[in-house]
């Protein structure tokens, strides 16, 4: 029999509708695997559709926004306000001849764009878009995110190695070195977040933030900082776009790719960005919750709004910041972020112990921890940066000396201060 319509009403969460559909299918007496397959197919299709639309939209948004930042107009010819520019670009990429470099390792060259696409899209399976809009709410979700992120490395190496191009190889080696270093930072900062929430399931972490009415970002400013930077590294955004540093190694590991194969890399890059933003939103910004507003507004709208907001920060940084050098970025990971992340984990561990042993109520404990962690973040970042700055006294900004004396030599003298 058909279920009452009342159960279909709640479209705030598409998970409800899907759940009702699944029960309906079970009621019809279908074999057990049918709802299982149907839910999987619906989830996969929804995620694919969403990613394609989002990527196309954000290509346009990024180009317009960066255009505004750069005193130019940006695409405005194709469609109203250039809205169809990404579609035109995609069509162009589709119809381009797929060129393979001479002496390239053909198999790997063709495989790399596919392989890079898989981990970037699989990440979304564990992201809770709404209360029950999650394809596979793994109980090791956080670990899964990190593990899947590490597979990117392989695809990048395959692309760089197989292209038979030196820029590509340099880009690939840079990517691998960077990703491995920053994976460690990611693990450590996410570990601190997991310590707070007491679960690696992303849904539980969101629920924890909803229950206590606090975003983890207030409790974990250091962790958020670490993750935002590590995320920028993973998605190759400025100031850490070293792997495809345009002014240095042309386009890094995908220098030799054209046509739709390049399109795959391009889309994977945006998807990686969305994935990072989604993780930040889920872990640090309360996911689909917004202090009760989610009762009235669909949770997935809140989630997407937050996600796009976080992604905008990365667009902004791309339009603003210069690029670090690879050794500086590695030094930043190992000398700056790693000690801070370790201290952060230690402090969070101590706080959780305190919470349980001293039997504090959440109303007492969380504000206390928030203040402690915020102060600690400021003190640690400032102090450690000051300390590291002492080791490199020459790295200060200054002005030029102005002189009238022709032929004098000022080399090595104290420069004019700012």
């Amino acid at each position: 029999m058909i279920r009452p319509l009342a159960e279909w009403y709640d479209l705030r969460d598409i998970g409800n509708a899907v759940g009702a559909l699944l029960e309906q299918i079970e009621d019809w007496g279908a074999p057990e695997w049918v709802p299982y397959v149907v839910s999987g197919v619906i989830g996969v299709l929804a995620i694919l559709l969403w990613t394609v639309i989002s990527v196309l939209a954000f290509i346009w948004i990024e180009r317009r926004v960066v255009g505004l930042m750069q005193n130019r107009i940006g695409p405005n010819r194709v469609g109203p306000s250039g809205l169809l520019q990404p579609v035109a670009d995609a069509l162009k990429l589709l119809f381009k001849e797929p060129v393979t470099t001479h002496n390239a390792d053909r198999v790997l060259f063709w495989l790399a764009p596919v392989v890079i696409f898989i981990p970037t899209i699989v990440v979304f399976a564990v992201i809770p878009f709404g209360e029950r809009m999650v394809l596979a709410d793994l109980n090791v979700g956080v670990l899964f995110l990190i593990a899947i992120g590490s597979i990117n490395t392989i695809a990048v190496f395959m692309a760089g190695w197989s292209s038979n191009n030196k820029y590509a190889l340099i880009g690939a080696m840079r990517t691998i070195a960077m990703l491995i270093s920053y994976e460690l930072i990611q693990v450590l900062v996410l570990l601190a977040a997991v310590l707070f929430a007491g679960s690696m399931r992303l849904g539980d972490i969101v629920a924890w933030q909803q229950d206590y009415g606090v975003w983890l970002l207030f409790l974990q400013p250091l962790g958020l900082l670490g993750y935002v930077i590590a995320g920028a590294v993973e998605m190759n955004r400025s100031p850490t776009d070293i792997a495809e540093a345009e002014s240095e190694i042309v386009a890094g590991y995908h220098t030799e790719y054209g046509g739709i194969k390049f399109g795959f890399f391009y889309q994977a890059e945006y998807l990686a960005g969305f994935a990072i933003a989604a993780v930040i939103v889920t872990l640090y910004m309360g996911g689909w919750t917004l202090w009760g507003v989610e009762e009235w507004v669909p949770g997935w709208l809140i989630f997407l709004a937050k996600l796009y907001g976080v992604f905008f920060i990365y667009i902004w940084s791309r339009g603003t910041l210069p690029r670090l050098r690879i050794d500086q970025l590695m030094a930043f990971a190992w000398k700056f972020l790693l000690p801070l992340a370790l201290v952060n984990v230690l402090v969070v561990g101590g706080e959780m112990l305190l919470w349980q042993e001293a039997d504090l109520s959440s109303g007492e404990a969380l504000p206390l921890f928030g203040v402690i962690n915020a102060l600690l973040a400021v003190a640690l970042i400032g102090g450690w940066a000051w300390f590291l700055g002492q080791l490199r006294p020459e790295r200060v900004a200054h002005r030029a000396i102005l002189t009238q004396e022709v032929g004098a030599i000022y080399y090595g003298e104290a420069a004019a201060d700012l």
Partner: protein, 207 residues
């Protein structure tokens, strides 16, 4: 805002408690909840994953290009991770991907790239035939033991949650091995660094 009851150890109860599991589209939990591994999905998954794993391993043996061999090796690692998932060992599966597919394979790739004049081929030595015989013998023996032994099969369901149990075991029952493992990792890291530092090499090898 609804506060969920906290358990005795200060944690709140998981979201699972309020969501009826039948309506949850969680692939893994559904798979893990099966009593015996006899549903079609698991059987198909097992055979496909086993084929991928073994086929990729054979690929490692067969291909002539070392880089391709590494790619097959990674595929094999991922296949093993999939097999772990069919065994409802999600933590181990994810760890497998993280460590093997993400880290060890990258180390291998690094080793290949850092030895540029080395052989990029994947040939066998003259020990090929004895090795093949020995490997077949081992495979036969292990397979025979596996089939012939009367294992004490339990009728337990798949594990619901492995990560927390493993974590507790690591920090409680196996805390000493855990610490030793961490020291081992540290030593390995230091060892690797010391080995490849150019200055150290020059002194030690007397060049």
């Amino acid at each position: 805002m609804a506060r969920r009851p906290r358990t005795s150890d200060g944690r709140y109860q998981s979201a699972e408690c309020r969501v009826p599991s039948a309506r949850c589209s969680n692939l893994l939990r559904r798979a893990g909840a099966k009593r015996l591994m006899d549903d079609t999905g698991t059987i198909i998954a097992f055979w496909v994953l086993a084929a991928i794993t073994v086929g990729a391993a054979l690929g490692v043996v067969a291909v002539r290009n070392l880089i391709h061999a590494v790619v097959f090796l990674i595929l094999s690692f991922v296949g093993v991770a999939g097999l772990y998932i069919t065994l409802s060992a999600d933590f181990v599966a994810v760890t497998q991907i993280l460590i093997y597919a993400g880290a060890v394979s990258v180390l291998i790739l690094f080793a290949i790239v850092l030895t540029p004049r080395g052989d990029r081929g994947n040939q066998e030595t003259f020990l090929r035939l004895p090795a093949l015989l020995l490997a077949l013998l081992v495979a036969f023996t292990l397979g025979y033991v596996a089939i012939d032994t009367n294992w004490a099969i339990s009728d337990r369901k798949g594990f619901e949650e492995t990560a927390s149990v493993i974590g507790e075991a690591l920090l409680d029952k196996y805390v000493l091995p855990f610490e030793i493992a961490s020291v081992l990792l540290l030593v390995a890291m230091l060892g690797a660094i010391v080995l490849v530092r150019p200055e150290a090499t020059m002194e030690e090898t007397g060049e």
